[in-house]
Amino acid sequence: MKDISRSVPKEDHEEKVSGRALYVSDIQMADMHYAKTVRADRPHARIRNIRLPELPEGYVVVDHHDIPGANHVNMIFEDWPVFADSVVRHVGEPIMLVCGKDKQIIQSICDEIVIEYEDLEPVFDLQESVVHKSFQKGDAAAAFARADQVVERVYETGYQEQAYIEPQGFVGYLEGEKKVTLIGSIQCPYYVKNAVIKTLACDPEDVRVIQAAVGGAFGGKEEFPSLIGCQLAVAVHKLKKPIKIIYEREEDMIVTTKRHPSKTTMQAALDSAGRVLAIKAHVALDAGAYIGLSGVVLSRAMLAVTSAYTIDHLDVKGDVYLTHTVPNGAFRGFGAPQMIFAIDMFMHHLAKHLGKDPYQFRKAHQAKQGDRTATSGIFRDPILMDAMVEKATSMSDYHRKQKDYASPDVYRGIGMSWFLHGCGFTGSGESDHIKAKVRLRKSDTDHVYVLVAAVDMGQGAKTTLKKVVVETLGVPYNQVTFDDPDTDAVPDSGPTVASRTAMIVGGLLAQAAQTLKETWKRGETQVVEKTYRQPEFVIWDEKTLRGDAYPAYSWGVNIVEVSVSPVTYEVKVEKIWSVYDVGKALDERIVLGQADGGIAQGVAYGYLEVMRHHGGHIQHKNMTDYIIPTAVDMAPTETVIFDNPYALGPYGAKGVGELSLVGGAPAVAMAIEQAIGRPIQKIPATPEMIMELMRDETH
């Protein structure tokens, strides 16, 4: 049999290199109108009065009064208004849209709008918990009671901005009297559709959502586009014209969701031999002004508490706090990067505290097949971490460099993280909430159409999912078509998130293709559908967070080498080595591309990407202020993919997209820690922070 991993040409390569792919801002329509958002300029205030200038003919403002249905965005937690009504809770909160034909006239209307506020006290500290979760494994209290010693450390992480190169945007128009069609830069066509249905209080057939080419997303186009989609749908109904809304870079950076800043307190109970008996952990996430998806992000953070280690006794708690800042949300990794930074640094720091070799110490706690997971489920499948760690350390010459860089005056360091990532939705999310459905349609000319809601946002979903169908059917590539999803044409195969697309959607497509192959009737129209069913062995209790949190796990090892300037404390990443187990790569080049892009974001999260707010105002609001890696910053990478086929994944595939991000920060932080000889407990480890660390201890 042909090896599925062998790369095939990327489905959309031609149109993307030549500039022919149509992103939302490239879409042109006759009589196109435009919209701009009027936003709050303060963190917390009551709106006293709004004075509008006289509007020229053909121009309208759209605000909460125009919403026929619910004034909140349909999400897991429904507290996020489509338009602010009487109170604004963060800088940049949308109050209304100004719509019309000419962008300059729209701008001058916006400039003339006067909003009178009564300021209210803003909250920026983590005081008000709105979501609290906890779970236990074993008996942590007893373990702490008999501990030889207890060690505590606190780990903090900052904001991270997705910084997709294409800002958010939509085009919306009416088809007939009441059907609104939205074309957008989105990850989740059905999230947008379902949100708009609630806001318009209309029938499902009156909303159609189509995906345009997506210029990067990384979670940033998971839930946020639902907000713009709802606003635009209301505007389209009022103006009855096609309207385009494209965010400017600065607007995008100030108002869209980011990775949650976090603070994690770790406590370990150690026995006299220096083994970890138990861990107590508390993770605090800053949600910003609305909860949105934060509760789910919190779950993923908590469930990653022991990452690739097995600890028998756990007491894990977490809280989501509201502050008067921009709402945070989905970003590749979804809570796991914060926790994996904390646990991997903590294991490293525990070893140092005990005077043990961190490598041996971590080895002694490494998770093995058959072990109980953090939530008392079971690691059922083979775990290849021994071989993977061996591979990573030998290709990077890790052990020799560890010794060579031990002296603080070489200002060089090498750090290693190892980690896992749960594939798919947490717990029973797939079976209870998503219930993914895929469809294959064969025409009477025997051409096959892949009908799923999965979005290609650069991760190659079109190529890999089509490949699964083509290879299973055993037909030529040009006999199968995969168009960008349109909710009028495709069933709800779920959102394009949580590293679920290859494994879940791909798995269902493989089943559908198999059925189609077995029932193939030449020259006849055929339709095959498959709906997701939870594997029977997966047992999960959402209330106690107990059981198998994920059907499968992907695993990884990252090693990062850095040098630090003794003068400016600037960090240079010299080289990155990675080893991953993603089950089976559905396309090697695509997986390596995900590996490179993910680690670039993960490492930069650890040392480079700085975003802060001051009094609720984001300070890093354009690409000049918010630094992401360039080709010069990014180090060469060497990546090895291990085969470890997962029985229930298509051709053995598990999740890929997020795995390559989650271990970057601890690896680079450990490397910097070695280079400067000071512990790192906070990221990003900027030159300013390093300078402070150096000063603190030399004085």
Binding site: S7, P9, K10, D12, H13, E14, E15, K16, V17, S18, G19, R20, A21, L22, Y23, S25, D26, Q28, Q162, A163, Y164, I165, E166, P167, A213, V214, G215, G216, A217, F218, E248, R249, M457, G458, Q459, G460, R589, I590, L592, G593, D596, G597, G598, I599, A600, Q601, N622, M623, T624, I628, P629, T630, A631, V632, M634, P636, T637
Partner: protein, 157 residues
């Protein structure tokens, strides 16, 4: 208003519009050339790159007036060349494009780089591409694509 005359993708054109408008807006809006993208609008990301007399510039910070009498080549024009075909194939082989929003800009930047320096070292490639941001690829596959294009297309630049 005096029209701005320039050569756009090898065709002489006269733009009857406000000469202080950004070249990017004129290309996308007036000529329908949407291959040049707007990522930042402030000269930081290179998604809007076009060739001005053969070398890459950011069209989002260039007023139309400054192209008077000069050659402007967008991705649409460049896509008709043999050099483009070589870079396209190399980008495909090495996986240099993911979401693609940065890709037309990178194609232009790569052309400009190879025109200046047909045999760049890895470091020269990295420096040459430092004006273009890509959030998807982590750049290494793009760097490899440039190396490959330089080799396969030897003599073309």
């Amino acid at each position: 208003m005096k029209p701005i005359k320039f050569i756009l993708n090898d065709q002489p054109v006269e733009a009857h519009t406000n000469p202080s408008r950004r070249l990017l807006d004129v290309l996308r809006g007036d000529y329908g050339l949407t291959g040049s993208k707007e990522g930042c609008g402030e000269g930081e990301c290179g998604a809007c790159s076009v060739l001005l007399d053969g070398y890459a510039v950011n069209s989002c910070i260039l007023p139309l007036a400054s192209v008077e009498g000069r050659h402007v080549t967008t991705i649409e024009g460049y896509a008709k060349t043999q050099r483009f075909a070589v870079v396209k194939a190399a980008m495909g082989d090495e996986g240099g494009s993911q979401c693609g929003i940065c890709t037309p800009g990178f194609m232009i930047a790569i052309e400009s780089l190879l025109k200046k320096n047909p045999k760049p070292s890895e470091q020269e490639i990295r420096t040459g591409l430092a004006g273009n941001l890509c959030r998807c690829t982590g750049y290494n596959m793009i760097v490899k694509a440039v190396q490959k294009a330089a080799k396969v297309g030897e003599g073309l630049w």
